[in-house]
Each structure stands twice: as structure tokens, then as C-alpha cells.
Symmetry: C2
Subunit: 316 residues, 2 copies
């Protein structure tokens, strides 16, 4: 029996994800939205930010509404996807205006803020949970478009089935999605083979700038606003770089500090085996997973960096 | 019914792969060897070269025999795995000395040189074929060690399930292997998170040296012997770098030219969508797949480079 309230064709539905959307949040809101549209006429898929360029190949993204710029009424149901913390949803508080909030997430830091919570911290991705909700709770048939969105979320959040959140179930879901007609060549091309020449040059530059601390156990990458401007990179082109800093022999924790402006820094952390960077991110008011987390911090980048090094020294 | 001759406990068996072994060739020879050892007492797994460091975590690799240095008798059965061309097997011609040669491969360039050929060009990897042979032809039960070898071959040859040779079947095999106890965290760590600091610095250097031709459709990386020495890299640490050159917007073909010595060059090619680099590799006496191929060429690197650029100009 479904844990969701009865959904009629006239039920009004909002679907939202976290700010700075990634493949899993975009894949999951689009997949759930496309599925619900088969049943309901009033489905609204909201995005806080611009759609990152590398995800513009996802089907039907023209349906996305940028929500600080549109009038938002209350909804019968508000699905919040891939969002460990209700503070990460952004400016407008859709949650308070909606009758029932459904929280669907796999982050270990999730604080179960929904009226109904589908929180599975052992799922590889929110898309893996949405797959089950569409099939088992909503009993809506998957199609090629929905499968494409779900597959994209799964591959981006598992580092292509590399992270240990990948289970036999994850692979079986992937198998079924491929059979629904997912164009793997196209997804691989769009996500991984279409980097700008500038972002590749930037990677070369940044690997030369990388700082090594605590006998090689920690690597730090500092990205100044002016460098981002020089290479004219989009935000989503910087995301994966912290992985290079982690994937070095002996490194346990890698961090990237990205200067958003002179008084704001975005931190991303990666851990390898024994360290918990979810805890570290929490100390900066953020969160995520044990091995991948982040936070946005007010302050000058040099000060934030000093604070980070102090915290890392205690941790390592 | 099995296509293989009857295998008794005293049947003598050799298992070999191609020179310059990669994850798929090592994974497949080890998996098949460990499986056959459950049934036969005389199983010999041969390797032409040193075991590349990143694969030393594979179970039971101490069983590998380096075959130019040991006396080789004739065998009842000789399995040649992941080898498109019998010239790629190396110095000693085990094939002529063996009663029955079994050719197991997925390369499109395979010329069916075996007495029995299991050539499936739509398989993601030789490991995927070996999985079926162990289960269906040999009817030997898989275990955690065999699964680890097979999983390693599948992930390395599919670029972590990214290449379009990845099928629903590939994912279902992967699911079953994980259920047999494959330690995904360990495989990911050994293959991807344990790069030397030098190889990461080398990546930065090489991305800055990359050459761009034909209005951005071709990228070329030239690696001189002295640079390899300067960074003291192992051969297998250079392998993946050509992918960075391919994965740039607008690039159709990427090539790396690695100077083996003053009169030998190893070429690796990658194509994106419309070009066939198997054909290009054949022109240099090599082979592989449509989108990934290679060759080893005699000659000075500067001369080989000129020849390559001429061929690319015709192709693009």
C-alpha cells in the first residue's frame, strides 16, 4: 500500500531540489515530474538556479520553472528531493505553504523534515529511491525519458558506479533503465566527453597549484574568483576537480575552497576510507555523506582556509 | 552442451593474454584460471610482462608465471584471452605447441585464430564472456575471488560502465558479482584513488602541452621518454591520459604518442562518435575497437607523428 496520500488528476504538486543542483537532484525532479504528469494536470517542477549547461540534454527541461521569479501558491503535495536539510531548499519556503511535504533523500545528514519521509541512506542516489516510488508507490510506468533522467542521476551520484553506495540493486535498476531505451552513448558524451578546452586547461593549472599538508594526508585546492573568471568557467565545471586531489596515494581528505565572492566561500570535501567529512562539513554548517560533503561559508577565503586547516589538523 | 572439449582433472591447461596487459586481460586470465583450478590440477596462467602495480591487489596473482622465463611444454588446451590478434601474444608461440587453442575475445579486429572461438564483439569486455564460459560452458561455481577478477575487468574495459558496449546484461552480471562479495570500495581505491602524486602532477603538465589540430577536432599528446623518466612513471600510469584529450568539446579523435625508446613509439587512439580508430590503428599495424585502439610502431617519434598527422588529415 502506498505511503503517499491519494493523488487525483487535479491534485496540485510541487517538486523541488536543493540549490546548486547536481545530476542526481536534476535527474530526480525531472523523472518524478514526468511520471506524475502522466497522472496529474497540475505538476510544477521548480529550480532555484540556472540549469547547469551539462544537464541541458535532459528531456523536457523546458518544463522547469525558476521559482524565486514566479508566484508560488500553496500545493497539495510538495516533494523535496535529494535535500538533506530543509535550509538547502533556497529562498521561498514552499514547505510551509504546502499541505503535505514529502522528503525523498539518501543523505546521511537528512533530518526527516517531511510529513512523509522516504529517506534511505543506503541508496546510491535519490534517483534510485525515486525509481521505486514511481514503480511501487505511484504505480506509474517508466518510459525512455524518465529512464534517462534516473540513469543520469545514478551515474553522477555514484561516480559511475564506483562509490560503495553502489549495490547489486543499483546495477539491476541501471539494467532496466538501459532496456527502456536510455541512450548511453549520448549521456556519456554530454556528461563526460564535452568538456570545454578551457576547463581542461584549468585542470592542468589547478593540479600544479594543489597544496599538500600533513605528510601527504590532506590536499587543498584554492580557487580564486579571478581564476574562475580568467578561464570563464561555469560553476559545474569546477565541481569534479576535488576528486583529483583525493585520488592520490596517501591522501585521506581532499578539500576545494571556491571563492564565490570576496565574502563567501564554497567548500567541498572528499574522504577516502577512514575519515568522516560529513562531520567536517557540519562544523561549517553544511552536510552530505561520510565521503563527500560540502558547505557554504561567509568570510574571506584566506580566513576560511586557516580555519579549515586548523580543523583538519585536529581530525587527521 | 559445451563447445569445449571434455576437461578432466589431469587436462593440462595454459591461459594467456596479450602483451601490455590491462584490467580486462588480467581479470579474465585470473578469473578463468581460478575457476579451472577447482577442476584441474595442471592449470598455468602466463603473463608476458611484469604485473602492472595497480593490479597487484587482484587475488592469487602470485600464481602468474612469467612465460618467456619458464620452460613451456605443450598443453592440451590453451586459452587465449582478450587478444584480437595472435601476434599480440608475445614471444613464445604457445599456440603451435597446444592441441586445442580457445580464442576468447570481444575485439572487433579479432581474426578467429583459435580452434574454438568465443568471439563476441558486442560484449563489454572479455571478462563478461569469461563469466558466461565459467557458468555455462564449464559449469563451475563463481566465488568472491573470481568475481573480483571479473568485476575489475568489466569496470576497466567499460570506463566504469560508460562506454556504449555496456549493456543491461553487463549491469546484471555486475550485480551478481557484487552479491558474491566483491569489495567495491577496495577495487575503487586500488584502481582510481591510489595515483601517485607524480602521476597527478604529470597530468597537469601534459594537459598544458596538449596540441590541438584541424579546428579543434584532433588533440595530440606527445610523451617523450625523458619526461616519463623525469616523473618516474610506470607505463600503466600513462594509459588513461588520452581520455582527457578526447573528452573535450569538438574533439573527434585524440591520440597519444609515447616514446618507448629512440626507435619505437606506442600509439593510443580514442574516437568520440563518428570516427573509426580501429581502422586508423590497422594502418599502423595495430587494432582494437572503433572508439579505442592502439599500435606499436618502429621509428623516431617525430617521424611517426608526421605520418599520423597526415593520416588524420585524410580521415577528418
Amino acid at each position: 500500500m502506498s505511503r503517499l496520500p491519494a493523488i487525483q488528476s487535479e491534485t496540485s504538486i510541487a517538486i523541488i531540489a536543493h540549490v546548486n543542483p547536481d545530476g542526481d537532484s536534476l535527474g530526480s525532479i525531472m523523472a518524478l515530474g514526468l511520471a506524475l504528469k502522466k497522472k496529474c494536470s497540475n505538476v510544477n517542477i521548480f529550480l532555484n538556479d540556472e540549469l547547469p549547461g551539462r544537464y541541458s540534454f535532459l528531456p523536457e527541461v523546458h518544463l522547469l520553472k525558476k521559482y524565486p521569479s514566479c508566484d508560488v501558491e500553496g500545493f497539495d503535495l510538495c516533494f523535496v528531493l535529494d535535500c538533506g536539510d530543509d535550509r538547502r531548499i533556497g529562498e521561498i519556503d514552499l514547505l510551509k505553504k504546502s499541505k503535505t511535504v514529502v522528503n525523498v533523500d539518501h543523505h546521511i545528514s537528512n533530518n526527516e523534515y517531511g510529513d512523509i519521509n522516504f529517506v534511505k541512506t543506503d541508496a546510491s542516489s535519490t534517483c534510485e529511491i525515486v525509481y521505486s516510488i514511481i514503480k511501487e508507490e505511484l504505480e506509474i510506468e517508466l518510459d525512455q525519458q524518465i529512464a534517462t533522467c534516473l540513469y543520469t542521476g545514478i551515474v553522477t551520484d555514484t561516480g559511475n558506479f564506483r562509490y560503495d553506495s553502489t549495490s547489486a540493486h543499483t546495477h539491476r535498476v541501471a539494467a532496466e533503465l538501459l532496456e527502456l531505451g536510455v541512450n548511453l552513448e549520448e549521456i556519456t558524451f554530454q556528461l563526460y566527453q564535452n568538456n570545454s578546452l578551457n576547463s581542461t586547461k584549468f585542470l592542468g593549472y589547478i593540479l600544479n597549484q594543489m597544496e599538500v599538508y600533513f605528510e601527504g594526508k590532506v590536499t587543498l585546492i584554492v580557487v580564486r574568483e579571478e581564476v574562475l573568471k580568467k578561464y570563464s568557467l561555469r560553476n559545474d565545471e569546477v565541481e569534479g576537480i576535488v576528486n583529483y586531489a583525493r585520488d592520490i596515494e596517501g591522501v585521506e581528505v581532499a578539500a576545494i575552497l571556491k571563492e564565490v565572492n570576496s565574502n563567501e566561500v564554497k567548500l567541498s570535501f572528499r574522504a577516502k576510507r577512514d575519515y568522516d567529512v560529513n562531520q567536517l562539513a557540519k562544523e561549517f554548517g553544511g552536510g552530505g555523506h561520510r565521503k563527500a560533503s560540502g558547505a557554504t561559508v561567509a568570510g574571506k577565503i584566506s580566513i576560511v582556509k586557516e580555519e579549515l586547516i586548523r580543523k583538519l589538523e585536529k581530525m587527521i
